[in-house]
C-alpha cells in the first residue's frame, strides 16, 4: 500500500512536470506537421509566461493573464511565420532569433515595468489557476492506497493540466479526421500537392503556426501562473528543447507525444524522488546520477526501441513553386 501511495505521488508529480512539455510539444507538432520547423518553442513559452505573469499581476485575473499570454505567443508565432512562410527565410535561424528576442525582451520589460529583476510580482488567488478537485477527491484521499491514485494523479490539478491532456485527443481528431487536418498534414508532406489542389500553402501554414502560438501560450501560462506564482527570467529552463526532443521521439504524432511527455515527466519525477536515497546494493549514489537519469534513459530508449523517426517530408523547407 505504501508503495502504491508513493507511486501515486510520483505519478502526480510526473503529470505536473509533463504538462508544459506536452503543450509545447503539441505546439511543435502542429507547426512541424505543416512543414514549419519551430525551435522557437522555448522563446514563445517564455514570452507567454511573462505576458501571463505581467497581465495577471496587473489585472488580478488569471484568465486575462492567459489571454495576454496567448496573444503574445501568437504574435511571436506570426513573426516566425512571416519569416519562414512569407519571406522563405531559414526557419531555424528565425527560431533562434525568437529565442533571443524573447529572452531579452521579457527580462527588459519585466525590469522596466516591475523593477523586480525581471520578475513579475507574485500573484495569488484569482490571479492564479487553482487546483480543481474532482468529485470523490476527499473520499479517495481518505481511502489511501489506490484511492491516492485518484486524488494525486487524476484529481487536484489546475484547469490547464486538463486542457493540456484534452488538447491531445483534440489534436488527434483535428489532424486525423478533419478537412483542415488533412490539408495541414498534406502541406507538411508535399506542399506542391496542396498548391495544385487549389489550397493556399501559406494560409495553412499560418494557421498551423497560430495554433502553435496558442499552445505555447498555454504552456507559458501554466509555468507562470499555474505551477508558479509569477514570472521569473529564463523560467522555461530549456523545456522548449526537451519538448522538441519529445516531438521527435513521438514521431510527430499526438498520442505518442503525450506518452513521451509523460515518460519524460515520469523520469524527472522518479529522479527527483530517488535523489539522495541510497540504492539497494549500490548504496549512496551521487546526485548527478539521478539528474542525468532522464537524459540517459531517453538516449537508451531511443537507441533501443524507438527506431527511425521520419519527419514530415517538407518540414524546414520553404515552399517555392520552382523545383
Amino acid at each position: 500500500m505504501e508503495f502504491v501511495e508513493s507511486a501515486a505521488l510520483v505519478l502526480g508529480s510526473a503529470v505536473r512536470l509533463s504538462v508544459p512539455l506536452l503543450l509545447a510539444c503539441l505546439a511543435g507538432l502542429w507547426s512541424e506537421r505543416s512543414g514549419v520547423v519551430d525551435i522557437g518553442l522555448e522563446g514563445k513559452m517564455l514570452a507567454a509566461a511573462f505576458a501571463a505573469g505581467a497581465a495577471a499581476a496587473v489585472t488580478g485575473s488569471a484568465w486575462l493573464g492567459l489571454l495576454a499570454a496567448v496573444l503574445v505567443s501568437i504574435a511571436f508565432s506570426l513573426v516566425h511565420g512571416f519569416a519562414s512562410i512569407s519571406q522563405r527565410g531559414n526557419q531555424i535561424v528565425s527560431g533562434v532569433a525568437i529565442n533571443f528576442v524573447a529572452a531579452g525582451l521579457t527580462a527588459l520589460l519585466g525590469q522596466a515595468w516591475f523593477a523586480q529583476g525581471g520578475r513579475t510580482p507574485p500573484v495569488q488567488g484569482d490571479a492564479r489557476f487553482q487546483p480543481i478537485d474532482l468529485p470523490g477527491e476527499v473520499a479517495a484521499r481518505a481511502a489511501g492506497g489506490f484511492g491516492r491514485l485518484w486524488s494525486e494523479v487524476v484529481s487536484g490539478h489546475n484547469i490547464l493540466v486538463y486542457l493540456a491532456f484534452l488538447a491531445v485527443p483534440v489534436t488527434w481528431y483535428a489532424l486525423g479526421r478533419t478537412r483542415f487536418g488533412l490539408r495541414l498534414r498534406a502541406v507538411g508532406e508535399n506542399p506542391h500537392a496542396v498548391d495544385t489542389a487549389g489550397i493556399s500553402v501559406a494560409g495553412l501554414r499560418y494557421a498551423a503556426v497560430t495554433i502553435a502560438g496558442l499552445l505555447c501560450g498555454l504552456a507559458g501560462t501554466y509555468l507562470a501562473i499555474a505551477q508558479s506564482a509569477g514570472f521569473i527570467r529564463d523560467m522555461t529552463a530549456g523545456k522548449g528543447f526537451i519538448a522538441l526532443a519529445a516531438l521527435v521521439f513521438a514521431k510527430w504524432r499526438p498520442v505518442p507525444a503525450m506518452l513521451t511527455c509523460l515518460l519524460f515527466g515520469l523520469l524527472d519525477a522518479v529522479a527527483i524522488r530517488l535523489q539522495g536515497t541510497p540504492l539497494p546494493v549500490v548504496g549512496p549514489v551521487p546526485v548527478q546520477v539521478f539528474q542525468a537519469l532522464p537524459y540517459v534513459l531517453t538516449v537508451v530508449l531511443l537507441a533501443g526501441f524507438i527506431g527511425r523517426a521520419i519527419p514530415p517530408r517538407a518540414s524546414g523547407v520553404p515552399y517555392t513553386k520552382d523545383r
Binding site: R177, L182, N190, H192, T196, G198, R313, R323
Partner: protein, 514 residues
Amino acid sequence: MPIAPIPDARIPALPPAIELVGIDKRFGTVHANRDIHLTVDKGSIHGIVGENGAGKSTLMSILYGFYQADHGRILVDGREVRIRSSADAIGLGIGMVHQQFMLVETFTVLENVILGAEGAPRLAAAEARARGLIERLARDYGLTVDPDRIVGELSVGEQQRVEILKALFRGAETLILDEPTAVLTPAEADHLFRILRRLKAEGKTVVIITHKLREIMAVTDTVSVMRRGEVVATWPTAATTVERIAEAMVGRRVLLHVPKGSSVPGRTLLAVEGLDVRDGRGARLVEGVTFDVRAGEIVGIAGVAGNGQSELLETIAGIRRPSAGGIRLGAEAIGGLDPAAIRALGLAHVPEDRHRMGLVLALEAWENVMLGYQDDPAYQAGVLIDGAAVRAAAADRFRGYDVRPPDIRLRTGLFSGGNQQKIVIGREMERDPDVLLVGQPTRGVDIGAIEFIHRRLIALRDRGKAILLVSAELDEIRSLADRVLCMCGGRIVGECRPETPETEIGLMMAGVAA
C-alpha cells in the same frame, strides 16, 4: 455513308474548350513561352509535343494556374477568364496530372483524392463520396485502385490513376496530362488511352503532352508542336505523319529507329544464378532468377513496373544484398559486395530513377560526373580531389554526349530531364565498363535525345560489352535488345527473340504464357 462533321463557318460552332492568346512567360532570363496561340476544341484529345525544355509544362502550368503568364489571355468555353491560382483553374473545370506527381505519399489513395475537395469540415462524407466515385470509375473505366492503400507504396501506374481520379473527383471537364505515359508499361498506357477515349466520349476535353509520337498518332485528334517556347505547328493528327512531327520538333530529320547490326555474343560477362532478394519484411522481390549476359549483346528485361526488375538491377549493382544465389562478373563472384567494389570490377549502372539515385540534383553538374567514381585515382590530387581533372572529364562528357547547356558548373537540377539523363549515361558509359546495367534509359526524354542514347548503347555493345537493359518501353526493348527476358512477380517467366510480336511479349509480361 457516315459523314464526319466538317467545321462549317455558317453554323456557330461550340466555342473551344480552351483558347490561349498570346501567352508569354519568362523565368528570369529564360523565355519559356513566346507569344503562344493555341486552341483546344471541346471534346477533343489534343497532343502537345516538343523537345525537353521546349516550354510544354510551363504552358500547361499557366493554364492550370500554377504559374502566371507575363502576357496573354486565356479563354475557357469562349469566355475570357483570369486564372490566378490552381483553385481558379479547378473552379473552371480544368484538371491536371503533373509530370511529377502531386501526391502526398504518406496518405491513402482516398485522402489524396479528396484533398482540397473535401466539402464538409469532417472527412467522413467526402470519403464516402470518393469511395463511390472510385468504385464507379473502376466499373466504367477499369480505373482500379485500392482506395485504402498508402500512395507511396503504389506503382507509378497506380499513382497516375490516383492523379486522374483526383481530377475527375473535382469534376474536371478539361484534363491536362503532362507526359502521362513516361512511366507506364505499354499495357498500362493502352489502358490509359482507353480511359481517355471514354472521357472524350463523355464530352470531356483532354490535353496530353508526350514524347512518344506513336501515342500522338494513336490517340490525339490534333497535335501541336513546340520548339524553344513557341508553337511551331498545329495539325489535325490524321493529316500529318510521325516524321513531319519529329522534324518540326527537332528542326532536323530524326531516326526513329536506330539501325543495328546483329550481335556476335562472346564469352559470358555477367552470370546470375538462382538469385533471391527479399525486402526488409522478408517478402520476396526476386525469386530464383537465373540468366547470363555475354559480351557483345544486349539483354532486355521486359516487365510491368514493380515486378522485381529494379530490385534485380540494384542487387547486381550491390545496392541490395541477395538473400540467396550467386552473381558473377566475369570470373569474380560479386554477390554481397558493396557498390564501390563492384564498380571497381568493371560494372556500370544507369539507375532507373535519375532524380532519386543517379544524380544529386543540388550539386553542380561536374560533381555528378564523379558520383560513384570519387575513388578513381585519376580524380585525386594527393589527399584532395583534383577538381580540374574532374571538370576536364566533365567538359569532355558534356561535349561527347551533347549535354545542353554545356555548362558543367550549372546546378544539376536545372538541367532538363533529357540532359540529366545524358549526364548519367555519359558518366557510366565513358568508364568503358565490361557490363552495363541500364534502367529506363530514355524515360521522359525527347526523341532527339532518345536517338542519341540508343546509338550510344548499340555502339557500346558493338565494342564487345555486355548490356542488361530494363525498360518499360516494349518498343525500346524490341529495338535494342538481342534477347528478351520477361519478368513477372519477381521471376523470369520466359525468354524470347526481340522480333516476337508485341502481344505475345505482353502476355508473357502479364505472366499468362509462363
